[in-house]
Structure formats: structure tokens, C-alpha cells
């Protein structure tokens, strides 16, 4: 219950959020590497850019104001910031749930390129607006109106709203997480049900596979998919469950539809509301959302099976400076990703940094010296994203 208190207090405290400016850092050539946060601040929010150093350490570069307002909280896996990196555009898009728009920022200039809202009925004011992008289109999941908006990506990081569709879980649930890889979109509804869509033509079209997950059915409703990932080849969808243990479910999508999920029990961390595949797809990183650590499960991308791997120690500041772990990002787009970044929901929020080591099927996760890095601009950090983004 305390987090409800924190939520309201943070919305007030967000009034005092300020701007920070520091220098940038280039890694791997002239293109800088960033970790980007949607600060989700109430009243006046912004996007904070951190440069990623060669050792994975973060250095605050700049907050770009979105001149819009967030809500400093909401669903854990709702992805409030995404990065587009194609041949012509490098943009970061961030949602502002309080006013219902999406702002695009040019990563090369760190200047706002434009913003767009959905239809008059699209809203994510209670629990956030999730984002996913596949090159041509940006999709916004409005968690209050239970709609998915489709936007055309325009030059200069601007957007044009095209259309929206209404969605709902089998039990009436609200859209929770949404991810797009290629022409496939997969969503969770926070009520035990999941669904996939085809986005080849832009607007999502259901694949007709909405179903309750196995974990939901077996647990009689006490576990349900929240987070979602899709493998690089689109073969598997992976779901992190809200549960009082670490539960992850995998669905074979090779038929073009979600198959019945297989449940993997991976430990006793509370909730797996944010998950992330390593670039080489050998590890699945799991935020123990209501807990104090990160878990890595070994993943077989051929068979879609998971096994217990390793868990970090207690991350610094737990229950003192922050209360929840949320979104995950990686320092590099090769191998196991090098360093894991994790959003730490507090006031102010912070970003934890955990070094990944993996060899011979064994892994270790070790919080690095200098972790966490404060995000002084956020009193409710849930979503982060790297630039350049992972390639799938």
C-alpha cells in the first residue's frame, strides 16, 4: 500500500523537478551511446539522456523538456520510451500520460521534433501510455481507454496519428505491455490473457489467438502475464508474470499465432514485470519488481526453454531510496549486453547498474561500483531505453 502513497507524494514532489546539463560521451566511434529515461514527471516532464561510458558507467548529459506532463507511475511493463534508429532517423519517443501525447526528440540534436496525440478518447492517464516502434509505425497502448493507436513516423521525429483500435482482455483486462518485432505485435492485458496482432499494414489486426496463459489458469488467477518479449526470429513470445514467485511463460509463435504457453518457475522473487533478452538471446533478464535484485535465466532460443541462472545481490538503496525495480536496458548490443541498467522507482529515482558475466552456461550478476546513478529529474522512473537500440 505504501506505493500508492508514494505515487501521490511523488506527483506532488515532481513539481520541483529541475533541469540538468552535462557533457556527452561517444562510444564506438562518433555516434554517442545513450541511456534514455522517460522521467514521467507530473506537470512538466522531460527525457533525460545519459551517456554510456566504455565501462558502462552512466553520465548525465541533458534533460530535454517535453513541455508535457507524466503521471510518475502506473503499470510496470508499460514501455513509456522507445528509440527509432533507421537509415534516416534517430529518434526517441516518449509518452506523457497526463495529457495523452507522444513527443519525438531528435537524438542527434536533442531537440523536440514534434508531438502527437491519439483520438479524443485515447487515454492512459491512470497507468501510462506504452510505446513500440517498428520503423514505419509507432504504436501507443493507452491503458485507460484500452486502445492501441497507430502513428506514422514522419521526418524530423514527428508523428501523424492514423487510427486506433479497441482491445480488451478476456476477463476485461486493460492493456499492460506491448511489443513489436517486425510485423508481429504481442500484448498482455493484466488479466491473464495475451494476444498477438499482425501489423504488416500498419494498424494492428488480431491474429485471433487471444487466450488465457497457462500460468494464469493453473494458478487460478493469482499469476498472470505482464511483461512481454519476442525473440529475434519471432519464433517465441516470452512473458514475465506478476506473481509471488519468479514465473516466466513462453509461447511458440512459429505458426503465426500464440500457442499455449509453457510455464517456467525460476525462483522466489516477487513479480517479473519487466524482462529483456540479451542480444545473443542466451539470457533473459528479469526485474524482481517487488524485490531487490535482478535475475538472469538461461534461454535456449531454439527450443524456447528457460532455466534458472543467477541472481544479483540486493541492489543498493532498496526500500530506502527506491521501492520497485522496473524497466531494463543494456549497455551494448552484442553478447550478453555487458551492463544491465534497471529503473529504480523512487523519489528521486535512480538507475541501477549490474555487470553481467557469463561463461560455460554459468552467469553472475554484480552491481557495479558507482551504482546507482541518480535520476534527479524523475520521481517515478519506470521506463528506460538505450541508444542505439537492440536490433530486435
Amino acid at each position: 500500500m505504501r506505493m500508492l502513497v508514494v505515487f501521490w507524494l511523488q506527483r506532488l514532489a515532481a513539481l520541483t523537478a529541475g533541469l540538468c546539463v552535462l557533457s556527452g560521451f561517444a562510444m564506438g566511434g562518433s555516434q554517442p551511446s545513450y541511456l534514455i529515461t522517460n522521467d514521467d514527471a507530473a506537470f512538466v516532464s522531460g527525457i533525460t539522456f545519459y551517456t554510456i561510458g566504455t565501462t558502462g558507467l552512466l553520465k548525465l548529459k541533458k534533460e530535454v523538456s517535453t513541455s508535457a506532463a507524466g503521471i510518475a507511475g502506473g503499470y510496470f511493463p508499460t514501455n513509456r520510451v522507445v528509440v527509432l534508429d533507421n537509415s534516416s532517423e534517430q529518434c526517441v519517443y516518449a509518452s506523457n500520460a497526463a495529457i495523452g501525447n507522444i513527443v519525438g526528440i531528435d537524438i542527434n540534436t536533442l531537440v523536440v521534433g514534434g508531438s502527437a496525440g491519439g483520438s479524443s478518447t485515447d487515454s492512459g492517464s491512470a497507468n501510462g501510455i506504452g510505446l513500440a516502434v517498428n520503423g514505419n509505425y509507432l504504436y501507443a497502448s493507452f491503458t485507460s481507454s484500452n486502445t492501441i493507436g497507430t502513428f506514422q513516423v514522419q521526418s524530423g521525429c514527428s508523428l501523424t496519428f492514423l487510427s486506433d483500435i479497441s482491445v480488451a482482455g478476456l476477463q476485461g483486462g486493460f492493456i499492460d505491455a506491448m511489443v513489436v518485432t517486425g510485423n508481429t505485435m504481442v500484448v498482455t492485458y493484466g488479466d491473464g490473457s495475451i494476444e498477438s496482432f499482425n501489423v504488416a499494414s500498419g494498424a494492428p489486426v488480431s491474429n485471433g489467438d487471444e487466450q488465457n496463459s497457462t500460468g494464469y489458469v493453473v494458478s487460478q488467477g493469482s499469476s498472470y502475464p505482464t511483461a512481454v518479449e519476442i525473440t529475434k526470429d519471432g519464433h517465441f513470445a516470452i512473458f514475465g508474470d506478476t506473481s509471488t514467485s519468479t514465473l516466466v511463460e513462453v509461447s511458440d509463435m512459429s505458426s503465426g499465432k500464440l500457442a499455449k504457453t509453457t510455464v517456467f518457475s525460476l525462483g522466489h522473487g516477487i513479480n517479473s514485470s519487466n524482462i529483456l533478452l540479451s542480444p545473443d538471446e542466451t539470457l533473459l533478464y528479469i526485474s524482481n519488481t517487488q524485490g531487490d535484485s535482478i535475475t538472469a535465466a538461461t534461454f535456449n532460443a531454439t527450443t524456447g526453454t528457460l532455466a534458472a541462472g543467477c541472481t544479483s545481490g540486493r541492489l543498493k538503496g532498496y526500500s530506502v531510496s527506491w521501492s520497485y525495480l522496473a524497466d531494463l536496458a543494456l549497455a551494448t548490443n552484442s553478447g550478453t549486453g555487458g551492463t544491465i541498467y534497471v529503473a529504480e522507482y523512487g523519489a528521486p529515482s535512480s538507475i541501477g547498474m549490474v555487470q553481467v558475466s557469463s561463461s560455460g552456461g554459468q552467469c553472475t550478476l554484480q552491481e557495479v561500483s558507482g551504482s546507482p546513478v541518480s535520476d534527479p529529474n524523475s520521481n517515478g522512473l519506470l521506463s528506460i531505453a538505450p541508444f542505439p537500440p537492440r536490433t530486435f
Binding site: M1, S243, T244, R314, S319
Partner: protein
């Protein structure tokens, strides 16, 4: 999860539309002398009283739910019911909750089907019933049944009729509404009162001759489901409001008094202290949860969880010193609330108002009785027939919820309480069971079981120094790593009168309303 969403939607609709004419008596002003509630005594073995549940909204927007009683001096709120062992309580309760727009609360699906006790219809925030917290009485219709009993607005009323067992421990109990899904609303509004089973002096002669005070600590949120600043009240007087003076407890310099304190808050864990010049003083603990201790215990702090009671002797300082009755800070964990330190009252050393504030006559010297005559005596020496493990757990879907609150029998599926669920535990009259209750949540919980007291055996796997009999006990939060905190308690199902179906749950009332509760069946 959806239940919580529906709950929020429904209550937000309710909250915006519940505007009612003043029905409840006005409550005392800040900074005045704390008065004990009117005491109603049994006569010739029977206490017969008529309560009407009312509702109003005060000028600050706080909702009041009230047990109204028509006394010779006008309508008073939440009288203290005083009975002796073996007495009969006849309590007639009428529901006069007049809220507008509350029909929007329909469809909450909190209503049990099947057997109905009292009125039929859908349970809403306008429905009520009464739970006699701590009393070891039958869980059946017209006694202490909360599963099927509904009293609806406008109906002729409902009569509770029960006999206090002849071996009921003398001490402090309390009564409050217990309609599943709406308990928090009504207790938040103040619907709670004390019930005293008299005769403590027979078991703890230390209280003989002392001025007795009954203090009910209540908690009031402006909107109970939206966490934020709250007020603790002491006998309905706000204990800490910005700029407002604290309540006053009147004592004579050096005087010893017997304080009987009920924690009737929604969720506040209250570490109580008695300060003199800012320093915690020894208090002499006499009873916990209405059960006299085997021997008085001297300590500086007594932690009373929500719904718990503590009865103790305090001594006022000499003239010139200042004294205060305080509830300390208490952390309920990473996802729990911070219960803030509050001065519940300042002690004024005049003694001038004591007579009117505490109208109960001091206990007279009495023939001493053996604690072996009380219910649950000898429990620690009995072999347990069964051992069970249960645990509290929670999961959050986001920072604003949805939140699931579970209490689960180990090995069973986690699920929230449903009005029509089957009992998750079935046992038989005569059973003596050891229960290990863990807390796997990141928030402290308060375990309570209806109908019986339980014997404290272990905390975190270690024997307790004082095997007290309790009906509500705190279990600290899990820190995120390491072993879970736990208690081991001994449940006594030997009394055939408690056969039936009743509940155990967390007594943080939001948790209870959202399903951190289950049924147990004790077969005859």
C-alpha cells in the same frame, strides 16, 4: 486484480455522491478532556441495547459511520457494552445509513449465496452487520456470524443474541461492522466500540481500586482507499491535526490508572508509550486482546496491532512534570505504510475532570479466581493434533495497483477470498492445531482469527518468552531476502460451541476487504 479495479471504480463513484444529512452525533472538539463512552451494563444477567447505524459527512468532508444509541441524555455514539461472564447480550441493530447515490455500489459481487441471515439483497456500503472481535462465541446466525449476516437499510432491524461464555476471559473486546468489501469504509467512519467482560480484578488484583479508562483509538482517512494524511482519534477526539491542540487526559498527580486501549484503526500499528518529560515510563501490562496475563509485565512500549487491545496501569507524574500518551513511529515495510508518531493525548495533572470523564467505578477487592478456570487454560501443555502452514503474500501490477492480497494455506493455490468459496481448512471440534504463519509480503500484516484466541508459541522459529493468548498478532514484513518472518501459534478448537464456518484474515481492513481472508470449517 479486476476485483480491485472494480472496487476502485465503485468506491470512487460512491465517494463523489455520498452526501447525507447529519445523522451522527457531533464529535468532541480538539483539545478537550477525553471522555469515556457511555457504559451500558447488564442487569439481571442481560444487557439489552438498541443500536442504529447512521451516516453523515462532517464539515471537513470526513465520512462518519456511527453506532447511535438513544440514552436518557440524548443520542450517544458507540457505547461501551459491559457484561459479566455468563451474561446474555441482546443487541438490536437497525441500519439507517442514508447515502445518496449508493445504489451505484450494486454489483460488487460481495454477497454470499445460499443461507442468508438477516436481510437478503446485495451487500453494499449501506449494508452492515456486527462482529464481536475477540469474543469466543458461536459463528452462527444471530451470534458472531459475518459470512451470511446482512442488515439492510430500511429493514426492521436485526437482533444479536448471545451468551458470554461462563469461562470467557475478562477483558477488553470490541465490536465493528464486517460486511466483506465494505468493512474499511464503516470502520474508517468510526463505527467501532468497546465491549468489556467484567471481572479483571478477580484475575489481576493490581487493578483493584484504580480509576478505569477505556480508550478507543480510531483512524480516519479523508478517503480510505486513497492513502494520504490521516487522523488518529482518541474516543473520537482528533489526536493530531495541524494547529489543533491534543486531547487531554485528566489525572491526579501521582495517580495510578487502569487504561484499557483498543486499537480500532484501519491499519495503524501502534507502539504505545506513556511519557513523562519526554521519557518513556514503565507501564504495567495487565492483559492483551482481552486475556489477562499470567503475571503483570513491566515494559516501556506495548505494540498493539490493528484490532489488538492492551490493558495496562500507568502512573501520573508529580506536579510540575509533563506527561503524554504516545504512539510511536512504526515501519510496515517497503510496500507498507509508515505509521507516524503521534501524541494521542496530553496528560493534565488536575484531576478535576476525572470523575465525569471516567464514570466507571473502580473495581472493588474481589475473591481471586484461578486462571485455570478461563477458556484456553492449559493449552500449551496439550499435544497438537495437526500442524499447518499459511502465508501472507502480495503482488502489485503497477505503482497504482492493481494489487492482490493473499493469505494462503501452504500447498494450496493463492486466491483472494470469495464470498461463496469453500473453506480452505476443515477441522473438527476437539482439534488442537499448531499453525505457522509466514509473511512473504513486503508489508507487515496482522493475523486475526474469529471465534477463538490462540496461544503464542514461537516468533521466527524461536520460543516466545511470554506465551500469551492473542486474537490478533503482527507478522513483520519480508525484507526481500533471507527467511520470512513467522509466528507459530496454537489454535484451540476444543469448544463445541464454536463449530461452524468462520474466517481468518489480515486485520488491515483494506487487505481484508480485498480478499486477504479465507474460511475455516470446524465440524461438530
Amino acid at each position: 486484480m479486476r476485483r480491485f479495479s472494480k472496487f476502485l471504480v465503485a468506491i470512487s463513484m460512491c465517494g463523489s455522491s455520498l452526501l447525507a444529512a447529519a445523522q451522527c452525533p457531533s464529535r468532541p472538539s480538539s483539545g478537550t478532556v477525553v471522555q469515556d463512552a457511555l457504559s451500558l451494563y447488564s442487569q439481571n444477567g442481560t444487557l439489552n441495547a438498541d443500536f442504529t447505524m447512521g451516516y453523515s459527512v462532517d464539515t471537513f468532508g470526513y465520512s462518519h459511520y456511527c453506532y447511535k444509541y438513544q440514552s436518557t441524555d440524548g443520542i450517544v455514539e458507540a457505547p461501551t457494552l459491559r457484561l459479566k461472564q455468563g451474561d446474555t447480550l441482546l443487541l438490536n441493530v437497525k441500519d439507517d445509513i442514508k447515502t445518496t447515490g449508493a445504489d451505484s455500489m450494486g454489483g460488487m459481487d460481495m454477497t454470499p449465496t445460499g443461507a442468508v441471515c438477516g436481510d437478503s439483497g446485495t451487500a453494499t456500503v449501506q449494508s452492515t452487520n456486527v462482529h464481536f472481535h475477540g469474543l469466543n462465541v458461536p459463528p452462527i446466525c444471530h451470534q458472531d456470524d459475518v459470512l451470511t449476516t446482512l442488515i439492510q437499510p430500511g429493514s426492521p432491524g436485526f437482533q444479536y443474541k448471545m451468551q458470554i461464555p461462563a469461562n470467557e476471559p475478562p477483558g477488553l473486546y470490541w465490536y465493528h461492522p464486517h460486511v466483506h468489501g465494505f468493512t474499511e469504509f464503516q470502520v474508517n467512519g468510526g463505527a467501532a466500540g468497546a465491549l468489556v467482560v467484567e471481572g479483571m480484578e478477580k484475575f489481576r488484583p493490581e487493578v483493584t481500586g484504580l480509576t478505569e479508562r477505556v480508550f478507543v483509538v480510531r483512524q480516519q482517512y479523508l478517503v480510505p482507499w486513497v492513502p494520504g494524511p490521516y487522523q488518529l482519534t482518541l474516543n473520537f477526539q482528533v489526536a493530531a491535526a495541524p494547529g489543533a491542540p491534543s486531547p487531554i487526559i485528566d489525572m491526579k498527580p501521582g495517580e495510578k490508572q487502569f487504561w484499557r486501549v483498543a486499537n480500532a484503526t484501519l491499519q495503524d500499528f501502534t507502539p504505545l508509550q506513556f511519557w513523562v518529560n519526554g521519557v518513556a515510563q514503565p507501564i504495567q501490562l495487565i492483559a492483551l486482546d482481552g486475556y489477562p496475563l499470567a503475571a503483570p509485565r513491566t515494559l516501556n512500549t506495548v505494540l498493539v496491532p490493528p484490532a489488538g487491545r492492551a490493558e495496562f496501569i500507568v502512573q501520573a507524574p508529580a506536579v510540575g512534570a509533563s506527561a503524554q500518551f504516545v504512539s510511536l513511529n512504526y515501519s510496515t515495510g517497503p510496500t507498507g505504510n509508515q505509521d507516524f508518531e503521534q501524541v494521542l493525548a496530553n496528560v493534565e495533572l488536575t484531576g478535576s475532570a476525572a470523575a465525569s470523564a471516567a464514570p466507571v467505578k473502580p473495581a472493588q477487592p474481589a475473591k481471586q479466581a484461578s486462571s485455570e478456570s478461563l477458556m484456553f487454560a492449559g493449552l500449551k501443555d496439550l499435544p497438537a493434533t495437526t500442524t499447518r502452514k499459511s502465508y501472507f503474500s502480495e503482488e502489485f501490477g503497477g505503482t497504482n495497483g492493481p494489487i492482490q492480497f493473499y493469505i494462503t494455506v501452504d500447498g494450496q493455490k493463492q486466491k483472494v477470498f470469495e464470498a461463496n468459496e469453500k473453506p480452505v481448512i476443515t477441522t473438527k471440534v476437539g482439534a488442537v492445531e499448531d499453525w505457522i504463519i509466514e509473511n512473504r509480503a513486503l508489508e507487515t500484516h496482522a493475523f486475526h482469527i474469529h471465534q477463538i484466541h490462540f496461544l503464542m508459541e514461537e516468533v521466527d522459529g524461536k520460543p516466545v518468552p511470554n506465551p500469551d493468548l492473542r486474537d490478533t498478532i503482527e507478522i513483520p514484513y519480508w525484507s526481500g531476502s533471507g527467511p520470512y518472518h513467522s509466528v507459530k501459534v496454537r489454535m484451540d478448537f476444543r469448544d463445541p460451541t464454536i463449530a461452524g464456518t468462520f474466517v481468518f484474515h489480515c486485520h488491515i481492513l483494506l487487505h481484508e476487504d480485498l480478499g486477504m481472508m479465507h474460511k475455516i470449517l470446524v465440524e461438530p
